[in-house]
């Protein structure tokens, strides 16, 4: 009886192996899902192995990805993030070496190549798009309050003061359910004060969170704390977006994905400025989370997978995706055209002029380290006078993650 079952299981596996690639996608939001369907349809028209798209709710995908990758009959290609997150799977020997795909990607910027290379030097990832973070605001509100986008930290604090004097909390944030949003402040303050290399080392476990240099980040943050929206701790970032659009907060440090939750008529009124410069001597770094694909080492048809990924890396494929998704993503291929809106052009220019790129806390470290940051930062926002204790606890929690 059991033998029968094993055999039928194997038969099922063999059937699947014939001429079809499976693409496991976490892009479950309506628009992104539609964009993926268009993308796959376009590839399937080019001939070769047919790709079957399988969209799974992003929350489920996040928790099940390790299971997918380690199963006996894993899907072939996956949507996921570049950098140390991808590398953590490569270290376990789960990812396909796609160095041959990269032979044709000489025009990709150096930063993208680094992000797509595993610690053993293999290319394991094909980036297809990225987005940026910035301090977003409504142009009409800034005009009404008589403030202009600040460039330096002191100017920024002055703007905060002015907005507060109009009776509006200057800095919006949304930490209920989405505590990771606070990490953007930590990331940016750290790369502005201590620089991107220090930030990367710290997140990779080569530094300490109770380092005085990390403490400096928090003392700087304290200067801005009185301007944070006190309600921000209780609602998620999507509600914080509504607060910004409704003029109930002045500015909001957030990634461009927030635009998906904005009514279309408000979008034209939205602009952003670069996170203020704190120390001009530190090379300017920006957060540019990079999305793309990796493939399973057990892929049934590695050549077919590589052919598909080579196509995904073309400007043409990335334009198909960017045009039909929400439109704030920028193609990873430098030849790919992004959306023509002034907002996207400005974001793209900011990223291209940056000396260094980071991604985001979890992408530069690991999904396991993110909760330690959430705990520490939430506590800091509650009890800003306990920095030393918070940092000591954070270091202890981080050590547990790194030693696991």
């Amino acid at each position: 009886m059991r033998n029968d079952r094993v055999e039928s299981g194997q038969r099922r596996r063999e059937q699947r192996a014939t001429g079809e690639l499976s693409l496991q996608s976490n892009l479950s939001a309506v628009q992104a899902k539609g964009a993926m369907e268009k993308l796959v349809a376009a590839y399937n028209k080019t001939g070769g192995a047919q790709v079957k798209l399988n969209t799974v709710a992003s929350e489920i995908y996040r928790t099940q990805l390790p299971t997918y990758l380690t199963s006996a009959n894993p899907p072939d290609v996956y949507t996921w993030y570049a950098g140390s997150v991808a590398d953590s799977y490569a270290k376990k020997g789960l990812l396909l070496d796609v160095s041959s795909v990269w032979e044709g990607l000489g025009n990709y910027p150096k930063a993208m190549q680094t992000l797509s290379t595993s610690s053993t030097g293999e290319k394991i990832f094909v980036p297809t798009s990225y987005y940026w973070w910035g301090m977003f605001y409504r142009k009409s509100n800034f005009a009404k309050w008589g403030v202009t986008p600040p460039k330096t930290w002191d100017e920024f604090l002055a703007v905060c003061k002015t907005i507060q004097s109009k009776g509006v909390p200057p800095i919006g944030i949304g930490l209920g359910d989405t505590p990771w949003v606070a990490s953007a402040w930590f990331d940016y303050l750290n790369i502005r004060i201590n620089g991107a290399p220090f930030h990367r080392d710290l997140l990779a476990g080569r530094g300490r969170f109770d380092d005085p240099k990390v403490k400096a980040v928090f003392t700087k943050w304290q200067e801005a704390l009185p301007y944070f929206d006190p309600k921000g701790k209780s609602f998620p970032f999507q509600e914080a977006t509504s607060a910004l659009l409704g003029g109930k907060t002045g500015m909001f440090l957030i990634g461009t994905f927030f635009a998906d939750s904005a009514p279309k008529d408000a979008l034209d009124d939205i602009d952003f400025f670069q996170f203020p410069i704190i120390d001009p001597a530190v090379p300017v770094a920006e957060e540019a989370p990079t999305d793309g694909y990796f493939a399973s080492k057990k892929a049934k048809d590695p050549e077919g997978v590589k052919k598909f990924m080579t196509w995904l890396a073309t400007a043409e494929a990335q334009e198909i995706y960017v045009q039909s998704s929400s439109g704030t993503a920028i193609p990873a291929n430098p030849d790919g055209k992004s959306a023509d809106t002034p907002l996207v052009q400005k974001g793209k220019a900011m990223i291209e002029s940056a000396a260094e790129l980071t991604q985001f806390f979890n992408r530069d470290s690991s999904d396991a380290l993110q909760p330690t940051a959430d705990a520490a930062l939430t506590k800091f926002l509650d009890k800003p006078d306990q920095i030393d204790k918070i940092l000591k606890d954070w270091q202890a929690a981080a050590e547990k993650v790194f030693n696991a």
Binding site: G9, Q24, A29, A57, N73, S261
Partner: protein, 273 residues
Amino acid sequence: MNRLRTAGYHLSMSVVSFLWIAPILWVIVISFRSFDDVAANGLGSLPHSFTFSTYKQAWEDADEFRALINSLLVTIPAVLLSLGLASIAAYGLARYNIPFRRTVLLLMLMGNLLPPQILLIPISRFVELIGYYDTLIALIAVHVGFGLGFYTFVLHGFMRDLPREIQEAATIDGAGPGRIYSSVILPLTRPAMAALGALSFTWIFNDLLWSITVIRSGEKMPVTPALLGLQGLFVSSWNVIAAGTVIAAVPTVAVFLRFQKHFVGGLAIGAVK
């Protein structure tokens, strides 16, 4: 005085009932609001719009029809199978002097005390090993397996208390164990079966954990994970999710209304035995 008391009772109970029902009402209100209204005014504000399009969107985008079919394809066989098997097991354990029957029963119950979370990975690996990963059959099997212990325990308690004389009379009339089970014991166990059936229907229908553990294809997902699929990576259209939730609640509410009486009975069975 008595009148005042009654009035006070009704008033306070109305308030309590309203508190219970308020979140559901809130979901229903949100499900009729447009996306721009929710985005501009926030989830907590009073509605500024009224639309049915959310229901259409939920139905089409989450593919709720297929998801509901999947859910029923899993739930109905799982309920029938687990109750059928559990009643046979309970019959044997309750009515016959099987050696170690207490141990068997305790073992079955022990399995239920294990938190299901620790079994997630073994089960997903095992299902894969026997070649049933990503099939609805696997999901049915998991639900039957997990329900069996508890259902047997409850039915055992119920069957044990049926008078011995009925069975003796049937034996004298020449009925074998099979006949006694189907013609005597089973009809007498109907109230307990109906109560358990109604409870297990909601449990299995509302399950999320096992479906995402043994299924990975979007088109095979039951309705609960399909609802999660309406949530985007960062941004979620809460109005559409609310509409989808309302649709997904219809089958369980229907079962509840149909078996209302047994539900209460079912809870009592668990409490007394």
